[in-house]
Each structure stands twice: as structure tokens, then as C-alpha cells.
């Protein structure tokens, strides 16, 4: 199908582009900007006047809950959420049930996702079998099956000798290792070990749980030459360690979640279990540092850390609740909110959920709008607002700390490989 997207404000962070122009799509690809190629006869014209045309968002962490947790969400429900949110590529953490440690499982997941023909999925394979931190997974085979990197989701490897070997083995092939910095024993609490946890009597998780693990991961990356991606940074001290590692010349990238970018321990209020996330929401000082770090590029990417949890998992006392929050549909609005609040140019903000995220996953065909790129697009109205309500969220997980808020931005069209997969009714 040949599509002309007319008169939109085209923002392509990868190419430093931000102006009003037409775009032409054919055979699932972007074929031209500005002037139509010779003989181009559009079968459909999308009027994007007043709208932003950006690369489809790339989310570094979206749990689709398949296989194993279909009562919480299914590929169908979460793919709908992705399309409604303008997210066209998803990195999938390996903590499914069974975990993504077998090539067959990964192939099945990719096949199921492809058949649905919506967002592209990029599985992150399990670094160790069963995420048990004991035996290495078949990384080479898993990459053939479709994995783009290896990680442990939020299950720490307790034995640092195993972690050293796993990183060496991954480095043998140049695979990137995605690790969440959680020191195993210090991470047993439920909230940031600070004033709010003290007041509410919730067992705390100190900042040292993050920094100790980061020291370990960075030192092992240094020793093995593994390319390290640090997932879900939560503290100012952790960010300082990342900056230092980069100043030392290490190939380290990192991301932060929408929750940690916008919220702090104060948002727990009277035991709001929707604010029970991993790592814990930390202090306002930490949040401010993360916002600054994402703006100046010390933090490479912003992700939703989409983790659908059903009501049974949340309607319990805080410490007994399942951690996690739904987020796929909030990634764009919370990127825009952060950009507005920090005065960041839209293109620079969108880079964190498009081109920068693409670089970490290793996606070259998308995340930008160059001619020849995959026509994965998000067309949205930056001036409109989206209400976050249980009845408007497409995800099967209705629990998020942002429920009840009006957030900036509304997606009008989501295109995947040149096909309109979502259209605002």
C-alpha cells in the first residue's frame, strides 16, 4: 500500500530533523520525504496537519506475560496496548514462565508475535538457565532464534563467578548483557529505605542495593570486555557510577523507567500498591537526578517497564502485593510530560524512546525516518491530552500509579511496516 502522510511536523531525532513536510511510504518502507517519487500514486493520504510524525517508539522493557502468565495479559491484549501507545518495537524481558532460556520458546514467541502482525518483538534471552544464576544459556542458539541480548530481568545472579563467566561468554560473541543492578540480599524490602519507609513501617531497600550491584557489574564489564546495558536505574549515586564508568571509556549504556522518571517514594502515600515497583521509587533528589541524567544523555533511554499485574496482585497489603505497573500506553505521554517540564526540545526527548533505544537493542531498520527505513511510525497530537483510566487502557493490566491523571499527547495513527495498525476513532 502506498501512503502519503501530508503536512505533518516530521521529527526524526536520528537525522536531526524537525520541520513540516510530506512523507511517502511504499512496500512497508519510507520511500521519500518532501516530494513524491516519480510515478507515486498514493492509495491513501493521511492528513497530519497539526500532528507530529515520529518514528514508532521502541520500548526497552515490555512484559507481554506470555508464556506463563496469560491470566494477567496476553500477546493480543498487550499488542493492542502497544499500538494504542504508538510503540512499534518491544524488547521483551526473559522472566516469562518458563523463562526465555530455550531457542524453541523464543522462536514460538517470535512466531506468535509475527502472526499478530503488530509491534516487532525483540526478546532478551535469559543469561542463565531458568534465571537461576548457575548455568549458562545457549546464547549463540538463542540469538539465532531471535534474541537480541541476554539478561536476568530482575533476578540477580548471586554467584559473581557465574556472572563473570556469563559475561565472558557473551563477550566472546559481542552480545550485549542487560543487567538490573539489584544486590540480592539488600533488595529484600519493599520501598526505598528512607523517610517514607520509616514512617510507614515498610522494610526498606537501601541505595547500596543498587550501587553495590553496579560496582560489580561495571568491574566485571571492565574485566571481560562485555558490553553492559544497565536496566532501570533508580538512584543519583547509581547514575554517578555510570558517568564515571563512561568517563573511564567503558561501553556502558543504561535506561530508566517512566515510573522512576516521574515518581518518588512520596507517591506511595497511604500504601498505594500501584507504586510497588522494582527497583523501589526512591527520593525526590534521586528522581531529579534521573531526569537530569536522561536530559543530558548520561541515561540513554526511557522505557515503560510495562508489567501488567491483575487486581488480585494489587488489592493486598503493600508488602504482599505484586510489584509492577502497566506502562505501554504511557510511554509517549510521559516522555512528553518530562520534555514539557524540563523545557527539552521535542526531538531531543523523543530520541530517548526512538533512536537511542534502537541503538541499545541493535535495531538499524527502524527508530529513524531515513528513506529506506521500515515505515514504523507514530503520528500524534502533542497538544491534546490522554486521560489515564481503567476503562481507556487497552492493556489487561489496569494498575499504574498514573491512574486518574491527564497526560499530554494523543496518538492518532500507529503504522507498522507501512500499515495503519491503530487509528484514533
Amino acid at each position: 500500500m502506498k501512503i502519503r502522510i501530508a503536512n505533518g511536523r516530521v521529527i526524526d531525532p536520528a537525522n536531526g530533523l524537525d520541520d513540516t513536510r510530506d512523507m511517502y511510504l511504499a512496500d512497508g518502507k519510507i520511500v521519500a520525504h518532501g516530494r513524491a517519487p516519480d510515478g507515486f500514486a498514493a492509495e491513501r493520504t493521511i492528513d497530519a496537519t497539526g500532528l507530529v510524525v515520529a518514528p514508532g517508539l521502541i520500548d526497552l522493557a515490555a512484559r507481554l506475560r506470555e508464556p506463563g502468565f496469560e491470566y494477567r495479559a496476553t500477546l493480543e491484549s498487550e499488542m493492542d496496548a502497544a499500538m494504542a501507545g504508538g510503540v512499534t518495537s518491544l524488547a521483551i524481558p526473559p522472566d516469562t514462565d518458563p523463562v526465555l532460556d530455550e531457542p524453541g520458546l523464543v522462536e514460538m514467541l517470535c512466531y506468535r508475535a509475527k502472526k499478530l502482525n503488530r509491534a516487532h518483538v525483540y526478546p532478551v534471552g535469559a543469561l542463565t538457565i531458568g534465571l537461576n544464576g548457575e548455568r549458562l544459556s545457549e546464547m549463540a542458539e538463542l540469538v539465532e532464534a531471535g534474541c537480541v541480548a541476554f539478561g536476568q530481568a530482575n533476578v540477580p545472579v548471586v554467584d559473581s563467578a557465574v556472572l563473570l563467566r556469563a559475561m565472558q561468554y557473551a563477550a566472546t560473541f559481542g552480545f550485549r548483557v542487560w543487567l538490573q543492578p539489584l544486590a540480592p540480599f539488600l533488595s529484600r524490602g519493599f520501598a526505598h529505605d528512607g523517610e517514607v519507609a520509616t514512617r510507614l513501617g515498610l522494610p526498606g531497600i537501601p541505595t547500596a542495593a543498587e550501587t553495590i550491584a553496579l560496582y560489580t557489574h561495571i568491574q566485571l564489564a571492565r574485566a571481560t570486555g562485555a558490553r553492559l546495558h544497565v536496566t532501570r536505574l533508580s538512584s543519583a549515586e547509581g547514575l554517578a557510577l555510570i558517568r564515571q564508568a563512561r568517563a573511564d571509556g567503558l561501553d556502558v549504556t543504561c535506561d530508566v523507567s517512566i515510573n522512576h522518571l516521574h515518581l518518588s517514594e512520596m507517591d506511595i502515600g497511604y500504601f498505594n500498591s500501584n507504586c510497588h515497583v522494582v527497583p523501589p521509587l526512591r527520593s525526590q533528589r534521586d528522581r531529579d537526578a534521573l531526569r537530569q541524567g536522561l536530559a543530558d544523555g548520561s541515561i540513554d533511554a526511557l522505557c515503560s517497564d510495562h508489567t501488567p499485574v491483575d487486581d488480585n496482585g494489587k488489592l493486598t497489603p503493600f508488602s504482599e502485593s505484586e510489584p509492577g505497573a502497566t506502562g505501554l500506553e504511557l510511554l509517549l505521554p510521559l516522555t512528553l510530560k518530562w520534555a514539557q517540564e524540563t523545557g527539552l526540545p521535542l526531538g531531543q526527548a523523543l530520541a530517548r524512546v526512538t533512536s537511542d533505544a534502537a541503538r541499545i537493542v541493535g535495531i538499524t531498520k527502524a527508530g529513524h525516518l531515513s528513506a529506506g527505513a521500515r515505515a514504523d511510525l507514530c503520528v500524534f497530537d502533542p497538544a491534546a491530552h490522554t486521560a489515564v483510566r481503567r476503562d481507556t487502557l487497552r492493556s489487561q493490566g489496569k494498575n499504574t500509579p498514573f491512574l486518574g491523571l491527564e497526560l499530554p499527547g494523543r496518538v492518532h495513527y500507529t503504522l507498522v511496516e507501512g500499515q495503519v495498525m491503530h487509528e484514533l476513532s
Binding site: G201, P203, P317
Partner: protein, 323 residues
């Protein structure tokens, strides 16, 4: 954010924590409790304030002592009391907390007195009742995790007021395991709200929560320094399992360094009172000579506890009647 304890008129709807309650409400509870202490002296120890009301003691964590004092308080107000040890019934069969609450609500409960091992459980119940339009059922927190034990905090305030008259010229020390203590958190909240100018916490760093000074207290690790010149010493119970989590080496060492002995108590004001929420570990946090000594007011605390719980229950369910 809506304070779930207060109704739209700013009156007490539930008693979940001392935090966020105005001084006027705390004082009103203490004032209401005063005449109830006399009821215990009468031959017929009953008042008709809660006649026809059903109070469910919903204990997800075992406690004979607290449950009994709530039961006595409710019965003295002529309420019908049902005791449920949920830890040994439905919860053990996998029923969720809110399912249990829904079932009991359907039995026309007027009040739940809740104890739960998880911090915040009574808030969840109160929010659930609000969300399901059953806000006429009151919730009293009888202790949740490490978070709060507001009636204990209030009976302690009643005891202090009884012996010291005024809060605004006192120095009060809380000694021991503050980290795990819901009692200490409620005491700190009540003392600071009632205008005590100096509240001290004394203990090893392993048993004091992070940023505890943000709650408005002065931190001491040396008990001798901390007890100097205080008017009130509030001891906390030390649970035996604290030795397991690498928080303390032995009970003997704790007693040696932080146990309240006559010699250490002599550093406080001569008329200082000694309090303990019970049950006591003699020879661990407190020496018998102090526990049984002239300055101890530990048994009056228990007596006042019934009057204070009568006050709370009657203020919640008595005057407002059935809506």
C-alpha cells in the same frame, strides 16, 4: 490526598494511625477516656453506648492481650463482640484479606478491629469499604506490621497525662527496637502532635530506622546520655528473633548496653516514670527491679488501655449512630 481516617466533616471515621490526626482529635480521645476509667470501679461495669452494635475482632496475627483489652472495652460499652482468629481459619484456606472483609461485612458488622502482620492492611480495608460504599463500617487498627498501633500510642499518652499533667514541658525517651516497633511509631506521632518539645530515641544503629530524625526525634546511641534528665522512659519489647537477622549479637549484650537498670534510670529525673507496652522480657530490655519499682507505671497503662479503647470505639460508632 484524602486522609482516609477522617470523614468529610473532619471527624474521625477510622482509627488507622496517629500520623496526620490533629491535636484536637487526640485530646478529645483522651478527654473522652477519662470518665471511662471510673466505670471499672463500679459494681456494674457497663454503659449502653454501643448497645446493638457488632464489633468484629479481626486478628490475622495472634495476640491474646490486645484482643482481650479490645473485647473488654467493647463489652463494657454493651456491644456484641465476635472474635476471629483469621490466622487459623480462612486465611489459612487461601481466602484473600478483602474476601474475608466482604464476608464479615455481609454479617452486618459495625466495626472491625484489625491486627495484621503487614503494614498498611487496615488502610486497605478502609479504602475497600469506601470504594464499595460501606463506609459506615469503622476500622480500628490494633497493630499493623511495623507501621502503627494507635490505641497503644493513645493509652501511653493517657498514662503520661495522668502522671505528668502537661505534655509541653516534657522530655521523653523511647528505648530499644524502634525499627520493628509499630508502638514506637505511634508513640512518636502522638508525642510530637501533643507538643512534647523533646522526644528521644535510644538504641543501636541496627534497631533505629533510616532517617528516623525526620519523624521529629533526637537520636541517641548511648543510653546514659539519652536518659539524662528525661521525664518519661518508654521501653520497647525486644523480640527474640532479632538475634537471627544479624541485628544484635546476644540478648545479654543488649541488656548490658541498653537494658534499663536502676543505675541507668537514676540518670533520669527523680520523678521520671517508666512505661512498657508489654509483654516484658525481664533481664533483656528491663531489669526486674525497675519493672516492679516505684517509678514503673506499667500496670496503670493496661488499665487505662481499656478506657482509651472504650473512648475510641464510642467516638467512632457511638455518637454517629447508624447512618
Amino acid at each position: 490526598m484524602r486522609n482516609p481516617q477522617l470523614n468529610k466533616h473532619g471527624e474521625l471515621q477510622h482509627l488507622l494511625t496517629i500520623d496526620g490526626l490533629p491535636r484536637s482529635i487526640l485530646t478529645a480521645i483522651l478527654d473522652t477516656a477519662a470518665p471511662f476509667t471510673a466505670v471499672a470501679e463500679r459494681e456494674v461495669k457497663k454503659l449502653p453506648l454501643l448497645r446493638g452494635k457488632s464489633i468484629f475482632n479481626l486478628f490475622f496475627e495472634n495476640s491474646t492481650r490486645t484482643r482481650t483489652t479490645f473485647e473488654i472495652a467493647a463489652k463494657r460499652l454493651s456491644a456484641d463482640v465476635v472474635n476471629l482468629n483469621v490466622s487459623t481459619s480462612s486465611a489459612a484456606k487461601g481466602e484473600s484479606l478483602l474476601d474475608t472483609v466482604d464476608n464479615l461485612s455481609a454479617m452486618q458488622a459495625d466495626m472491625f478491629v484489625v491486627r495484621h502482620a503487614a503494614s498498611g492492611a487496615p488502610f486497605l480495608i478502609a479504602q475497600h469499604l469506601f470504594a464499595t460504599g460501606r463506609d459506615h463500617i469503622h476500622v480500628v487498627n490494633a497493630g499493623d506490621g511495623r507501621h502503627a498501633h494507635p490505641t497503644q500510642g493513645l493509652l501511653d499518652m493517657y498514662t503520661i497525662r495522668h502522671f505528668k499533667r502537661d505534655f509541653t514541658n516534657l522530655t521523653v525517651a523511647i528505648v530499644g527496637d524502634v525499627l520493628h516497633s509499630r508502638v514506637a511509631r505511634s508513640q512518636i506521632g502522638a508525642l510530637t502532635t501533643l507538643g512534647v518539645p523533646e522526644v528521644r530515641v535510644i538504641g543501636p544503629k541496627t534497631l533505629l530506622p533510616t532517617d528516623v530524625e525526620r519523624l521529629g526525634v533526637r537520636v541517641f546511641h548511648d543510653i546514659r546520655e539519652g536518659l539524662r534528665g528525661v521525664d518519661v522512659v518508654m521501653m520497647l519489647r525486644l523480640q527474640n528473633e532479632r538475634m537471627n537477622g544479624a541485628l544484635l549479637p546476644t540478648p545479654q549484650e543488649f541488656y548490658k548496653v541498653w537494658g534499663l537498670t536502676a543505675e541507668k534510670l537514676a540518670l533520669a529525673k527523680p520523678d521520671a516514670i517508666v512505661m512498657h507496652p508489654g509483654p516484658m522480657n525481664r533481664g533483656v530490655e528491663i531489669d526486674s527491679s525497675v519493672a516492679d519499682g516505684a517509678q514503673a507505671v506499667i500496670l496503670p497503662q493496661v488499665t487505662f488501655g481499656i478506657a482509651v479503647r472504650m473512648a475510641v470505639m464510642s467516638m467512632l460508632a457511638g455518637q454517629q449512630g447508624s447512618k
